[in-house]
Assembly symmetry: C2
Homo-oligomer: 515 residues x 2
């Protein structure tokens, strides 16, 4: 057995049975091993941002890492933006990055690069295996590193000769780290803060947003009168009819400040003190009032389920009905011209049970929550790292993780272009994804930001840098080019019909929504 095969067998033994791949010559022994050893679901992506984003989406829904296969430094570099997003989301990933044979590196062939240097800004764990006897053990370490709660990016670099030389066999994965218990003093502090009632906020993030954890938070809210909110971006929020309805802190600085103003004390459960996405002249970067007290009950890597149970106990909330349970309700289907609230109503009217919504709707989707809150239970995924181009890849990975569930990708046209190649993977794997592209033919968010910086009447150079027209993108044609069926709509009736068709359709379906 060579090093590559020992690594593949180690991955499989460690529970890693999906590999999102974009291989090259230096990875051929690993490909041969994937071919020879049964058990790995290999999913080809035609760009590496699709690979790493899919691994992010997979972890969010499957709760365990996928592996990736990337081609040397530049292949890894193409995946870095979505690894940044995955790292911020707390998604566990095992990257396998090919490298030249150890003796070839010093010759500085064209593809030679500082792979560890490229990996460092987005990896929690990095190792280069210089011996085929070591690679299986390093692979096992990588799996364990990726499984450190809430999830970490592990990057294992595999030189060609490490892959092709003889190895003794697979390695056993070390025991996975468990979520550390939270000491009772922190529970006491939080319970104390919650005596402030309506002036106290519990800010929820990470696995606090899973259904059963949210219910406990809702019980505490009923008992103490405190408020519940989530961060603007969530890795995975379980919501819909019968679940606790929690709003997000708004994106726009002034609105966020207003929403947070009532609170003297903020209990953090898997969340962090809220800050602005960007800095602006004469606007605050910290969204809370001066002097607000933060009580960190649990970080996103700690035992959130356990500490919420403790908090229920400490606040004597175990008999309370949770606050904010969402009643089943569906808005009527709207008619006429399309706008964000019409789109939200159509989503709310048609969203199927157990849907996974991958939200990269940017400006269009800011008000989607109220009208979808009573739809059947579903999960809502946001971009945690802010690097656009996360949506189509994350939808791909989520669909691989959840074969029986409908995935709905909400995409701004600007965002979708960064990793548009993912459409092809959706078609190849016949993934059950309905894609809504909000085509406003601009980086619309930036038009507002340009006004914010004081440009009232932008000239043609600025307008051109923020516009996606000349020529307009034809999303139906691009989708067709990658084997995905689609349709273009320009009113509510058209969208409702197309969305219903997409949901009925088995496999990917793209709807271009002209705004």
């Amino acid at each position: 057995m060579n090093g590559a095969e020992s690594l593949v067998r180690t991955l499989l033994a460690g529970g890693i049975d999906v590999c999102f791949t974009n291989p090259g010559t230096s990875e051929m022994h690993f490909v041969a091993a994937l071919d020879a050893v049964p058990g790995m679901n290999c999913v080809l992506c035609l760009f590496e941002g699709g690979v790493t984003g899919a691994a992010d989406g997979y972890y969010r829904m499957a709760g365990k890492p996928a592996s990736t296969l990337l081609h040397l430094g530049p292949g890894l570099a193409n995946g870095v933006a979505n690894l940044h997003n995955a790292k911020k989301a707390g998604s566990g990933i095992v990257n396998i990055v090919g490298e030249h044979a150890t003796y070839h590196i010093e010759l500085d062939a064209p593809l030679t690069a500082d792979i560890e240097g490229i990996a460092r800004p987005v990896s929690h764990w990095i190792k280069t295996s210089n011996l085929s006897e070591e690679i299986a053990g390093h692979g096992a370490e990588a799996i364990a590193a990726a499984m450190v709660p809430p999830g970490q990016v592990a990057t294992l670099i595999l030189p060609g000769d490490t892959a092709w030389n003889e190895a003794s066999g697979p390695a056993e994965t070390p025991a996975f780290a468990t979520r550390p218990k939270v000491e009772s003093a922190r529970v006491d502090s939080a319970a104390q803060a919650l005596k402030g009632g309506a002036k106290t906020l519990i800010l929820l993030g990470g696995v606090a947003l899973q259904e059963t954890n949210l219910r406990m938070a809702g019980q505490v809210a009923t008992k103490t009168g405190c408020a519940l909110l989530t961060e603007w971006s969530n890795t995975r929020l379980d919501r819909g009819a019968g679940r606790i309805e929690v709003n997000r802190i708004p994106y726009v600085v002034e609105k966020a400040v207003d929403v947070l103003k009532p609170y003297d004390r903020i209990v953090l459960v898997g969340a962090r003190p809220p800050v602005a996405f960007f800095a602006y002249p004469d606007k605050p970067s910290i969204l809370t009032q001066d002097g607000v007290e933060f009580i960190e009950l649990a970080t996103d890597g700690e035992d959130i389920a356990g500490v919420l149970a403790d908090l229920v106990e400490a606040t004597s909330a175990s008999k309370s009905e949770p606050a904010g349970v969402s009643t089943p309700r569906r808005p009527d289907l709207p008619k006429g011209a399309l706008d964000p609230s019409g789109i939200a109503a159509i989503l709310g009217n048609l969203l199927p049970e157990n849907a996974v919504v991958v939200d990269e709707s940017v400006t269009t989707g800011r008000e989607f929550f109220p009208l979808t809150a009573g739809a059947p239970p579903h999960s809502w995924l946001n971009n945690r790292g802010g690097s656009i181009g996360y949506g189509l890849p994350v939808a791909t990975g989520a669909a691989i993780a959840c074969p029986g569930q409908k995935v709905i990708a909400l995409e701004g046209d600007g965002s979708a272009m960064y990793t548009v190649q993912s459409l092809w993977t959706m078609a190849r794997e016949n993934l059950d994804i309905t894609i809504l592209v909000f085509s406003n033919r601009s980086y619309k968010i930036l038009r507002g930001e340009l006004t914010n910086v004081g440009v009232q009447n932008p000239g043609p150079r600025a307008i051109d840098m923020l516009s996606l027209n000349r020529p307009d993108l034809d999303w139906v044609a691009m989708a067709k080019g990658m084997g995905v069926d689609g349709v273009k709509v320009d009113d509510c009736e058209g969208l409702a019909k197309a969305f219903a068709n997409g949901l009925d359709h088995e496999g990917p379906y793209l709807i271009e929504i002209e705004l």
Copy 2:
């Protein structure tokens, strides 16, 4: 004047008048400054690999750097693969990368990343400007760094408050570094080596491949009987009728070893000792014979024109007619089924004068040289860094640099997908580019490599990872989706007609060649 405007004015004063952009919120003050100050040609790309590759292509043809505008760490990361290629090509680029306001960084907002860490593996020069008063001076330094021969990647990081705070004005660019003269002892050594006649090779790279420099090398070849070759990948090779015909060292290891076997001594002029692109078990990584003597006459950053003139003198070759002048000749148009030699004949028959050929044809294009050698004078550009996805962006930048010249992009279908978004920029700027996509529906080079590693009968997992079928990519539909006209052909007659149409067409035109 704020910091952003002082930087824009510094760039313009330093001769940088093209900016390939993909801006975000943190770059809005820079965008506003580009809007307010006349003189910068701003070219929007919908993915950052398109931005950095375009800057590479621009430098290769214009001989001076373009600037880029990138959105924080992840935006830079998306451009890293083509910066890797640019760095290996010796292309000068001034990257402007937005960053959060200095006081916002410690808050670790979603887009916060280690920008310098991301830049380091692909930059010769990096600086973060923390004061608006400093940014103009740093911009001037960046231009000078990018102009260090043969050309360097300079990355200037611009925090939001540095952009928006007051500055005093633009800075003057320091004098550009000139190419260092080569001491006469190295000329003497080379002249001595050339007494070996046919057993001596001059291996040419960098600006040695420009027309007048090649002529001097040709004179030396006539006089001494030495051979001339270039590396496999060239930044820019001037060739065609009336110019010196030089072959490249083949890509395939065995062929390269055979080609290099006759030579005892190799004189390097802007080139490096030839090594294999990849390592393979039981194949050499060093392509030359043991004991071959290398004489480095000039590195690619030294005064190559001067040292070639000195060598002509030292070998008394100034009266010699240069060897290997290509006679004007055009192959006949072939008929029937398409294969690489048929495609080469069509290229050779129709290639227009002053064409810029951007070659990312991978397996299809390995034999294109002989049949195009007698076409009218043209420039031929290769991928120096080996990271695929260089072709469409480099063609974009070359076309911006050379408005009156036809650019021809030769693309493998696998390669073209990585940065397919560049088609839109070609359409927006109405760039005169004819794109030939060789659609073999596979990573064909890897099918050969899989056989090389001993997999004779690959199973479905391996085949699927190397195939681009299921579904087939429809290049004409994708091009249409981005505003580029195109046609699909499947025989020689069809290609000849489509290529002639493309050359007559003003603006981009895509030909999908089904192989």
